[in-house]
């Protein structure tokens, strides 16, 4: 045998499977893909007490072997040994939530009926104890017919016992595996009744309530306070993005200025110095400066997700979502899309109904993602005065809120139309388990934030830097003769002049037309592109003297600036999103449709904004 034994983690959603997987494998993890489907394969290495290696694979959570989504189908196929690209597991480790045993036992029993080597990790026993539940583990093990090990995955408790039990099960397993199974017992009612009987035997004491979650829900789901709390949370989140980030943004700007000054002072004036200062330091710096705001936004979303509040938000939003043919389930991917459309679109896999999923994918880019923040923050900072509308509510924050709202309204209208035309259908309804509230683990949130910061900085260091440098070269050459503006004479300028014919009617000027092209790679590039263009045109005294916002407010009219904002609410300018949509929908039809309707919306919105503002005399 070349391969180490394969052990699969299986269980209901919310059983704590992934936490157990993390606890057992630590950093030795690999994320891949199952062939032919867009389901991620999480695998990792662990060692038995005697040092023998084990390959552990974490299968998608499911309630039974009867799948209702592609993820759940993978779980069934792996367990039965008929998943392409996966061996039949030598042992199944079934993870069950001790606080919800009669439900989770049903799946345990269905898996046991397959007659494969198996053991049960009875997880979250600490929570169960806090609820006052008491178990007879020997009786439970005897009833199921396999070892049962109590664990607390998030606290890394019970892991040694689990490894011991696993070694024992492996030792007792038949040397040659039985062939893949063609069928399984799908009558889950029968298993459910048996599960309740077994739970009745194994649970020796069972008080009724889950007091903490109950009293928190009495407020969070309250008909009046619930929506107020949700709205307040959203509002605080968007205000915090601006107010908490001021100081760290100042530090980054300070560092960027120091780097540029040092380079100018120490290097001789030549092509390389210009490239370094204008292309790299200022170009990349103008994007990196938004890292604090992006991290604040992700902090809110990660905490809401980990605490269990996100499902409550879905519950509160379901009725509204239903009025446009979606469900509360779509609210979670859409809220994630406020951070970034890519994880949002990947999260739509949890939506069972294909038409509802398609609609959610198509409108996800309308949720204002963090890459738009640099553009919004720049324009708002330059054109909207920083005064208070009422104490505690700044005008700038309010404009930002309106921009977010415009995206949401656009998404609502788009969903309404899509569900009556291209994605017509009955809808999958809304049935969701509401997990108990949990204090988010500091480590998990910090890891999530670190991951986001890394992705953003890597993008700034690769894609954004490459596009910025390419643009700087295109905008610097050929060198314009005396009396002609460099930004118009250069190669980039000539391309922009072609595009300007189309964009002029909606109020865009030459520099904006130029910035929109590289922003196709990623929206935030628009900021560094504007930075580059204005730096190139600037005379020597001006050079570096004025930051970008100051330059813009002197040159753009207010209607033009507002039109630029309106454009970015809708324009699908993100190659990564388009690539993910293609991957998730297996073809170019959906991304093509998305590009078409979003550009049309962006053009219309910018035009309407511009001409309304002009008519109002702004």
């Amino acid at each position: 045998m070349d391969h180490p034994p394969l052990v699969a983690l299986v269980g209901n959603p919310n059983a704590g499977k992934s936490a157990l997987f993390n606890a057992l494998t630590g950093a030795r993890q690999k994320v891949g893909n199952y062939p032919g489907v867009t389901v991620e394969r999480h695998s990792g290495r662990m060692a038995l007490p005697d040092g023998r290696p084990i390959e552990l694979v974490d299968l998608p959570g499911t309630y039974s072997l009867d799948p209702s989504s592609p993820d759940e189908a993978v779980t069934r196929d792996v367990v039965l040994g008929r998943q392409q690209g996966e061996r039949l597991p030598d042992v199944l480790v079934v993870v069950a939530d001790a606080t919800n045993l009669d439900n989770h036992l049903r799946f345990v029993l269905q898996l046991k009926a397959l007659d494969r080597p198996m053991l049960v990790a009875l997880n979250m026993v600490d929570m169960a104890e806090r609820d006052g539940l008491k178990f007879d583990l020997d009786a439970l093990s005897a009833e199921i017919g396999c070892p049962v090990v109590p664990t607390v995955a998030v606290r890394k408790r019970g892991l040694d016992a689990l490894r011991d039990a696993l070694a024992e099960v492996l030792a007792g397993a038949p040397a040659t595996l039985p062939p893949p199974l063609d069928s399984f017992d799908a009558d889950i009612r029968h298993f459910q009744r048996e599960a309740r009987r077994v739970a009745g035997v194994a649970i020796t004491e069972q008080p009724r309530a889950r007091a903490v979650t109950r009293s928190m829900d009495a407020i969070a789901l309250h008909p009046v306070f619930g929506p107020i709390i949700l709205l307040t949370l959203m509002f605080v989140m968007f205000q915090a993005v601006f107010s908490w980030s001021e100081a760290p943004i100042g530090w980054i700007e300070g560092l960027q200025g120091w780097l540029a000054e040092t380079a100018v002072a120490t290097l001789p004036e030549n092509f390389l110095r210009d490239l370094l200062v204008e292309g790299i330091i200022n170009g990349v710096g103008s994007v990196v400066v938004f890292l604090p705001q992006i991290l604040i936004l992700f902090l809110f979303i990660l905490v809401l997700e980990a605490s269990g509040y996100m499902v409550r938000a879905a519950f509160l939003m379901d009725r509204l979502m239903a009025s446009v043919g979606l469900s509360g389930r779509a609210f979670i991917p859409l809220l994630s899309s406020f951070a970034c459309a890519i994880p949002g679109i990947m999260a739509t896999r949890a939506i069972d109904d294909p038409k509802e999923r398609l609609t959610t994918i198509l409108i996800a880019p309308l949720m204002t993602c963090s890459a738009r923040l640099p553009v919004y923050a720049l324009i708002i900072g330059a054109f909207i005065p920083a005064r208070q509308v009422v104490p505690g509510v700044g005008l700038q924050g309010l404009v930002l809120f309106v921009l977010y709202l415009s995206g949401i309204v656009g998404a609502v209208l788009a969903a309404f139309v899509l569900r009556r035309t291209l994605a017509k259908g009955q809808g999958g309804g809304f049935m969701m388990e509401m997990p108990r509230y949990q204090m988010p683990s500091l480590r998990d949130v910090a890891l999530g934030l670190w991951h986001r910061a890394y992705v953003f900085l890597r993008r700034a260091g690769t894609t954004i830097m490459a596009v910025t440098v390419a643009l700087w070269l295109l905008a610097s050459y050929p060198v314009a003769p005396e009396g002609v503006k460099q930004s118009e004479y250069s190669a980039a300028g000539r391309i922009a002049s072609g595009l300007e014919v189309v964009l002029k009617p909606i109020g865009f000027n030459h520099e904006m037309s130029l910035a929109v092209i590289p922003a196709m790679a990623a929206r935030e590039v628009a900021v560094s592109a504007l930075q580059t263009v204005y730096a190139i045109d600037a005379t020597d005294e001006e050079q570096g003297a004025q930051e970008l916002g100051g330059r813009l407010s002197g040159r753009w009219s207010l209607p033009t600036a507002l039109a630029f904002l309106a454009w970015f609410v809708f324009a699908p300018q993100c190659l990564s999103t388009i690539a993910v949509v293609r991957r998730e929908t297996n073809g170019w039809r959906v991304p093509g449709l998305m590009l078409g309707y979003l550009f049309a919306l962006a053009y219309a919105a910018a035009g309407i904004t511009y001409w309304s503002a002009v008519a109002l005399g702004l």
């Binding site: 919800n100 889950i188 889950r210 499902v311 049935m431």
Partner: protein, 85 residues
């Protein structure tokens, strides 16, 4: 007093009941399957916990030891009797 044909939607908040039966035919196959997976079955303890803030919105209920959200038409398909205890 609840009539013999009362459904989960008729329960008052925090009122304990047991599932008397489910009109499986009133549900789509996917809904029926998920409901079974939530453990809904004759005799199971059930409690209506919350109604959403807009009319026609979902309800949150406890099934056994599990809390789930359901749309009203699904809740209406679950027939209940009051728990005697």
């Amino acid at each position: 007093m609840l009539s013999p044909n009362a459904s989960l939607s008729h329960l008052a908040q925090r009122q304990h009941a047991r599932v008397a039966g489910v009109d499986w035919d009133a549900l789509q196959p996917a809904e029926a399957r998920r409901l079974r997976e939530f453990g809904v079955d004759e005799g199971v303890e059930i409690e209506l916990l919350h109604r959403a803030w807009l009319g026609g919105g979902p309800v949150a209920c406890r099934i056994g030891r599990m809390m789930v959200a359901l749309r009203p038409h699904v809740a209406a398909a679950i027939r209940v009797t009051l728990a005697v205890d």
